[in-house]
Every structure is written in structure tokens, then in C-alpha cells.
């Protein structure tokens, strides 16, 4: 009898201990010190203070049918990777249980266990075996894997002599020939160049058509929309939305916007060293008046206020703003590097402006990512943290508005038609 579900999670929870208490570099000396302390009176409070805990996952329950392709989305630290690690049995849940029916293939990275000293041939068998393939299965697919990776003549060369491109191709080729009933994939798989990403997604599509169950973790909304039919939204370790992928992506982007007040000082979804932060964003028209919306075809000035943690000047600065539509698809990027030739030094606090003389966006809501680099180091990267509402304007100077069905799709391009017969 076939089971009704492929994956069933019931109140899966995971508790992590933070701080020095459980770090990998905890030494015997520390343990001795804490065990001595434990005998002293009043040590309990001390322990509670130093041993801070947090729930990476809290009572997450869902059921996935065989053949479903489900995207798991959420911000950094929402528990996506923890969920994947629990389902792939890398780490155990603190509470709750999960059941899976089928052979599991989990791809948290490509090339896990590749050994640089071993040849391509040896690594195919080792890596395949690590990913859960049977020996004869690997032997059967061996030629196919080698052909897919396009490394025939280097098959007996140690992989440490491979170019990085060859290495990744081989690693992906092995992973691509995995044929589990349940595939758990992390977005780290989508690293590499654009061609490789495309190959990845193509293979995932192929796999999904073969009727396998896929759980795909990502915060790349475009990839999720293209691949998945259903989505799970994780927020702070809790499953908040479970439904059609479109509505889940909408909820996710909305949850980002909820935090995207123009005040960014405590916006969480950001990366970078953080010595310099964008503190707030304002939109201005050409005369410097603050505005709420951008207007199609009109000038738009985006003002970024920033502050550094110290008072030193900031050498070699680069800023960029990336524009996304309301489904998170990338539209275009405005980078200071493209338009300013010489290195820029900024004072430790102030504001910078990006001027778009003729806003090429139709009426809709857009998302912006902000990026700030000082001396070749990423200081702040606010990911899709700012919302830009745009209202219709006379982009083409003809008084005509962009057609309804095209609104919010792509960008507006200035153009002409020669129509004389």
C-alpha cells in the first residue's frame, strides 16, 4: 500500500543554545571552570544568563503529497536551513517528529565529500555513495555523468588540477544523476555563474516532471515561482503561511515591506560588515521636495542616509540600488561605479543621492535593494528592504498611459517608430 504523503512534519521544533556555552571551541578548561561554578550557590541564574537559547523552529507541521514541488521561503535565520537539515537527518529535532516515505536525496551543496587528491573517476564513486547512490547505480550512470560534465579526457586526473568550472560541472553532474523519490535542495545549489544556475534550474524542472517530490529552500522568489506549485513561509521559526506559491511569495514580500519603513536602522534582512549602515531612505523630486511615490517618466531622486560606527572618512566608496518588481524579479541595477570614474571618499556620516532622470517604471509597487561598499568590502546590503510605489505618468510625452495588462511588468523603454509608407 502506498502512503498518502511523502513528507509529514508534526510539531517539529529545534532549540539552539547560543553563546560560549556550546561553541565548537569550548575547551575542557571552560568545562572545568563552569562545573566548579555550578557548585557555588546562586550559580543557576548565572547559567541562565550565559546560556541563551533560541528556537530555530517551533512546532512546524505540514504534509507534502508525493510529486508536489514545494518552496520554502523566509528571511535569513527564519529556520529554512534548519528545517532542511532536520528532514535530511543531519541534525535531530529537539521535539516533534517527521515522517518521510521514499529514498531521500539531499543537496545542501554540490560536491560534498570531493577529495582534491582523488581522480574524477574516484570522486564520482565517492560522492555518489555519499549522496546515497548504490555502487552499481553509479557504475550504470558513470558514462552519462562523465559526458554530462564534459570532462572525458580528465577523468583520471586528480580533481585538484581541475579548473573551478570543471570541478563544479563534475560535482553537479553527480548530483543531477541522483534519483531519489524525495529531493531536498538548498539554494546554495544556485551559486555559480548564470549558465550553471540555468542548468541547475533546468535539471530541477526535469526532475520535477518525473513525478518526484521536491522541497526547495530559497529566498530567490523568481526561482520559486518558476518551479514550485506550493509554498511554505517561515518567519522566526514558525510556519506562518502554507498555500499556493504565488500567495506565499506575496506574503513573504509583504512581510519584508512591513519592516521596510523608510527607517532602516533596524531592518533585519541585510548582510555586510555593518561598520557603515544605511539608516533611512527618502524619495525626492527634482527640486528636492520629499515625495511618497515615483512618477513614470519623471525624475526620481533616491536619497540614502548613512552613518558609520566611527568618525573616519570612508575611502573608495561604491553604492548601488537594485530594482525588483513586486514578485521579486530583478529589473535593473543602478551602480555608482558605472557612472563615476574616480574613487569616491565619503565622510563618516551623511547622505548620498541616486538620480534617475526619467523613471522607467509603470504604475505598481517595486522593491529596492541597497548596497554599500567601502574599500572593496561590503558594508551594508539591504535586501529588498525598501518599497517604491510608482504612479502612472506621461513617460512617452504623448499623454498616453502604459496599457493595463503590461503594468508592473519589466521596464519602460524610450523608443520611436518610423511609420511612413
Amino acid at each position: 500500500m502506498l502512503p498518502k504523503f511523502a513528507i509529514k512534519a508534526e510539531k517539529v521544533s529545534k532549540l539552539y543554545h547560543l553563546g560560549a556555552g556550546n561553541g565548537a571551541d569550548r575547551t575542557l578548561r571552560d568545562v572545568l571552570a563552569t562545573s566548579v561554578r555550578r557548585f557555588k550557590p546562586g550559580s543557576k541564574e548565572l547559567k541562565a544568563k550565559t546560556d541563551s537559547q533560541f528556537w530555530a523552529l517551533e512546532n512546524v507541521s505540514f504534509e507534502i503529497q508525493p510529486g508536489e514541488i514545494v518552496g520554502v521561503i523566509g528571511r535569513n535565520g527564519a529556520g529554512k536551513s534548519t528545517l532542511l537539515k532536520i528532514l535530511s537527518r543531519i541534525t535531530e529535532p529537539t521535539g516533534g517528529r517527521a515522517e518521510l516515505f521514499g529514498r531521500i536525496g539531499s543537496l545542501l551543496e554540490v560536491g560534498t565529500g570531493f577529495h582534491p587528491e582523488l581522480s574524477g573517476r574516484e570522486n564520482i564513486f565517492l560522492n555518489g555513495s555519499i549522496l546515497g547512490m548504490a555502487n552499481r547505480e553509479i557504475a550504470r550512470k558513470f558514462d552519462e555523468i562523465v559526458a554530462f560534465a564534459e570532462i572525458e579526457q580528465f577523468i583520471d586526473t586528480p580533481v585538484k588540477r581541475y579548473s573551478s568550472g570543471m570541478y563544479v560541472r563534475l560535482a553537479f553532474a553527480v548530483a543531477a544523476h541522483l534519483e531519489p523519490e524525495i529531493l531536498l535542495v538548498d539554494e546554495v545549489l544556485a551559486v555559480g555563474d548564470a549558465a550553471f544556475q540555468k542548468k541547475c534550474m533546468g535539471k530541477m524542472n526535469e526532475v520535477s516532471k518525473a513525478g518526484r517530490t521536491i522541497l526547495f529552500v530559497s529566498h530567490n522568489t523568481a526561482a520559486l515561482l518558476g518551479l514550485c506549485t506550493r509554498g511554505l513561509l517561515l518567519e522566526c521559526g514558525k510556519l506562518t503561511v502554507d498555500g499556493e506559491i504565488e500567495s506565499v511569495v506575496h506574503s513573504y514580500l509583504k512581510s519584508l515591506r512591513a519592516n521596510a519603513l523608510n527607517d532602516l536602522s533596524s531592518f533585519p534582512n541585510r548582510e555586510g560588515k555593518g561598520r557603515v549602515r544605511v539608516t533611512s531612505v527618502a524619495f525626492e523630486d527634482k527640486s528636492g521636495n520629499q515625495i511618497e511615490n515615483g512618477i513614470s517618466g519623471q525624475p526620481l531622486v533616491i536619497k540614502l542616509n548613512y552613518r558609520s560606527t566611527d568618525s573616519k572618512p570612508l575611502p573608495n566608496c561604491r553604492a548601488s540600488i537594485a530594482f525588483y518588481d513586486n514578485l521579486g524579479q530583478t529589473l535593473f541595477n543602478c551602480s555608482s561605479e558605472l557612472v563615476i570614474r574616480d574613487p569616491v571618499t565619503l565622510s563618516s556620516e551623511g547622505s548620498i543621492r541616486c538620480v534617475i532622470p526619467q523613471l522607467p517604471l509603470s504604475q505598481n509597487h517595486y522593491l529596492l535593494s541597497l548596497f554599500l561598499e567601502v574599500n572593496r568590502e561590503i558594508e551594508d546590503w539591504v535586501q529588498q528592504g525598501v518599497e517604491l510605489p510608482v504612479v502612472d505618468g506621461d513617460f512617452y510625452g504623448t499623454g498616453r498611459l502604459y496599457p493595463d495588462g503590461w503594468r508592473g511588468k519589466g521596464v519602460l523603454v524610450n523608443h520611436q517608430w518610423i511609420m511612413t509608407s
Partner: protein, 299 residues
């Protein structure tokens, strides 16, 4: 969930394969668990091919890009034997129970080199394979087990050298040789038990990395390798009986070189060594299982 319910489920353990694991999709239950059970053994069996490939990897990688290659497996104990013969045999004139000192030393170094290399390799194996531990699932016990087995290949090579030495010195073969399979089994098991426990400990306490070399060195001098057991004062011997390596090495000499000194060797001490090893193996596997669930989080 009440603690009783939880305990019940823990007993069920992880994998519950269907009637025909090859054809029906496997049924996997993930939940917190603690006990060492039959399920763990079934799981180990299912991953036997990975065990084979990891062992193969360790063997292949060890002597890659060396000129002499696998010859090092023989040269290491050979050089040790020569040095020991020179210093302890010739200069310090340590007794060797009327056996030529090189033969005496090598019969001890053969199991000892295996043991120390296996404990060293297995002890660092989990941390050395942290990229696997954090990215893929398989029974973690395979990692130290593969390290030990890979070292066993070296043991086989140096055993060949032992045979050559025995031929050179014209050592007669005796019925004592029949003990050998038991001795090798116990030595491997003992090295695995010690190495596995140290490996699990090292995941959390990196101090273990620095402790292992000293432990091995001290242990070597506490084991009759360069000196015969007969040199030990009578009152210390019960203490040495607790060191399985002492009993094992004495037994290797008896098995390989023949002749039984009944004051230092008897069958009951050999059984005691087996008993200690088995106890340690159970303790080691249990504590490994207990610590295993935090490996991926802590490593």
C-alpha cells in the same frame, strides 16, 4: 508531548524499513532519540557501501603524491624497529626474553604501530570530515570505523615484513599462531573503541587533538614494547593486566615467536583483554550515539 510518549518513541528508533527495503519506498521517522538499538545496526548495514568508499578514500589518499607510496606502511615500523634495536637493544641492553632484539621489538611494534595510528586517525576523523557531517546524513560511526579499517591495510603490509623477519631468523611456526585471528580482531576492536570515543569527544572539546599524541606516547611506555613483560616487578603485573595493549602485545609475541612464558602469559588474561575490549566498545558506541545528535550543531 509527555516524557513517557517521548521515551516510547525513542525506543522505536530511527529507521523502520518496510518488508522489502529494496522495492518499497523506505519509511523514515525523524524524532529525538537517545538509545542505542537494533535500528542503528540496520542503518549501519544499509550504508556499508559508503563505509567501503570512505575506507578506500582514506587508503588512497594517505600515500598520494609520495614517491615511496605504500612502502611507507612498511618503512615506519621498520625504522622504529631499527632505532629501538640500536638504542634499547644495543646501548641500553634491555633484555628481550632471549629473542633477538629486532624480532622482539618488531613483534611488539607491529600491533602497536597499528593501534597508535588507528587511534590517531580515528580520533581526528570526525573533525577532519566536518564538511560531511554538516552536509549529508549517514551513520556517523562509519567515519571513525573507516579510518581504523584504512590503517588496517598498513598493518597487513607490515605483517608481510614480520613474515620476512621470521624467515630470516628462522623462527619455527607453532600452534600458537592460531591465536592470531583473535588477537587481530581484539586489537582492531580495541583501537576502534578508543578512537571512536576520542573522535566524539573531539567534536566538542578540541583539546583532545593535543591530548592524543601524549596519550599515545605515555601508553607506549606503559606497554611492554621495548621491554619484556618479565622485566616488570611482580606487584605491578595486575595493573598491567588492565591495559589491554600490554596483554595483546605479549600474546602477539607468543603467537608469532612461539614459546610460552607462563609467568607472563595465560589464556585467562587473554579473555580478560577481550572482556575489557567488549565493555569499552559498548561504552564507546553508547556515548558516541549520545553525543552524535549534537555533532552537526557543534562541529
Amino acid at each position: 508531548m509527555s516524557s513517557i510518549e517521548l521515551a516510547k518513541k525513542e525506543q522505536l528508533g530511527g529507521i523502520q524499513p518496510g518488508q522489502d527495503a529494496e522495492h518499497l519506498p523506505p519509511h523514515i521517522v525523524i524524532e529525538p532519540r537517545r538509545l542505542l538499538g537494533k535500528a542503528d545496526l540496520v542503518e549501519l548495514w544499509r550504508y556499508r557501501e559508503l563505509f567501503y568508499f570512505l575506507t578506500l578514500r582514506d587508503v588512497k589518499v594517505r600515500y598520494k603524491q609520495t614517491v615511496l607510496g605504500a612502502a611507507w606502511a612498511v618503512l615506519q615500523p621498520l625504522f622504529n624497529m631499527l632505532i629501538f634495536t640500536l638504542i634499547f637493544g644495543r646501548l641500553a641492553k634491555l633484555p628481550s626474553d632471549n629473542i633477538p632484539y629486532p624480532l622482539f621489538a618488531f613483534a611488539g611494534l607491529l600491533p602497536w604501530t597499528f593501534f597508535s595510528n588507528a587511534v590517531g586517525a580515528a580520533g581526528s576523523s570526525l573533525v577532519g570530515n566536518s564538511h560531511l557531517v554538516t552536509k549529508v546524513y549517514f551513520p556517523r560511526l562509519i567515519i571513525p570505523a573507516a579510518s581504523v579499517l584504512a590503517v588496517l591495510v598498513d598493518f597487513a603490509f607490515s605483517f608481510g615484513l614480520m613474515v620476512v623477519l621470521m624467515a630470516i631468523y628462522r623462527v619455527p611456526l607453532t600452534i600458537n599462531l592460531l591465536m592470531l585471528p583473535y588477537l587481530v580482531l581484539v586489537t582492531v576492536t580495541f583501537a576502534f573503541a578508543v578512537g571512536t570515543w576520542l573522535a566524539a569527544l573531539q567534536v566538542k572539546y578540541r583539546d583532545v587533538r593535543y591530548v592524543i599524541p601524549f596519550l599515545i606516547q605515555f601508553w607506549m611506555f606503559a606497554t611492554p614494547i621495548i621491554y619484556p613483560t618479565s622485566m616488570l616487578p611482580q606487584q605491578l603485573r595486575p595493573l598491567f593486566a588492565l591495559n589491554p595493549m600490554a596483554g595483546l602485545i605479549e600474546a602477539y609475541r607468543v603467537a608469532l615467536l612461539g614459546g610460552i612464558n607462563h609467568s607472563t602469559f595465560n589464556i585467562s588474561s587473554l579473555l580478560l583483554v577481550g572482556g575489557i575490549t567488549l565493555t569499552l566498545l559498548i561504552f564507546s558506541a553508547y556515548s558516541f550515539r549520545r553525543m552524535e545528535k549534537m555533532f552537526a550543531d557543534v562541529i
